[in-house]
Symmetry: C2
Subunit: 234 residues, 2 copies
Amino acid sequence: MTYELYYWPSIQGRGEYVRLALEEAGADYDDVARSGRGMSEMTRMMEDSETPPFAPPFLKSGKLVIGQTANILLYLGSRHGLAPKADAGRLWVHQLQLTITDLVLEIHDTHHPLGPSLYYEDQRAPAKRRTDEFWSERVPKYLGYFERLLVDRDGNFVTGRRLTYVDLSLFQIVAGLRYAFPKRMDRFERDIPGLIGLHDRIAQRPRIEAYLASDRRIAFNEDGIFRHYKALDI
Amino acid sequence: MTYELYYWPSIQGRGEYVRLALEEAGADYDDVARSGRGMSEMTRMMEDSETPPFAPPFLKSGKLVIGQTANILLYLGSRHGLAPKADAGRLWVHQLQLTITDLVLEIHDTHHPLGPSLYYEDQRAPAKRRTDEFWSERVPKYLGYFERLLVDRDGNFVTGRRLTYVDLSLFQIVAGLRYAFPKRMDRFERDIPGLIGLHDRIAQRPRIEAYLASDRRIAFNEDGIFRHYKALDI
């Protein structure tokens, strides 16, 4: 069976956490809006599905249409060995992914503090204040939390010896923060050696390495979640 | 077995979605930080747990410690008949709850657009702009989505004939928006007759009615997610 992934065709965005899981799993998938069928098929699905998603990304798996990034990963994790099978471990990994979801929204808010439907150019001053707060308060809190989990477990991955979709998502967080805030991140990386090591190990996994070198990996750009604006990276 | 709920003792906040589910289920639970053991026990759990939560609320169920509101509801839903048992329905209900999670964060951002660690008083002007955008763009999008689900299913509840934890959460959204933005909500309610009807039916369920009248229900106040600031409600 071929999965169908529905997401904006020109950004990594929230879809990237799903793409990374599908790639690591070696799953067969069609990135629909990037293929011939394009955006119209995505719009049609959002209108006609029996379980209409509020927003992309969503995944079609047979008859199922599953929305919300963390929910898609919950589903894929069980099917592809990217999360523990037992309830306790499955809920723990999902809990960590939901914490990453919160972080991703806060990253988005650095350039859109006045709301998602206004342009960045219309909110430069508040974006600067929000970004300062994000780097002084929120990044240390979020990344410090995951760093401690890595160190306490003394393992290769956040939950111990086995890779989960959370590790793939943390790779994306590190890669994205490096793209959006190279100066700030350069200064901060000394505080999170564990996460930097995790990022590097993920980047070297054969399927991820092949994916990152392929044209399936969309380049970071200023329409996505991680945006590089010089005024925000001081 | 008695559940232990850990959440800030003086606000409804994100803990309220869990409290409503526990109350509707008639589950035995201890709201730990409001009881004799207080906040110190909550802090200790966050430091010493094998699966430390990033933030409250979290639920202790036997040996399990489960964090993230939607994840707790995923767990409780299966155990107390507040969600379908089959995978497809379970994922669909969880997906809707994650959409409510996003909405709750946007509600919080109306009074904290520059970030959660600054006071509202230090961000009044951006809060006003963000609130205007929230009511012109985001409320119609989010509540319109849930309204359509209710109408399309022609049922008493969002997913059809049976109550789920999503219905309880939507009750809280309507109640909270009425508290925080009475004028704006009064004008908007004509667009969401289905959701208003749902709110009223939930409020009349015997266990919820008893809960709302009890001192277990904390009053809305200006430390929670839903805050009434006159300047934001025009």
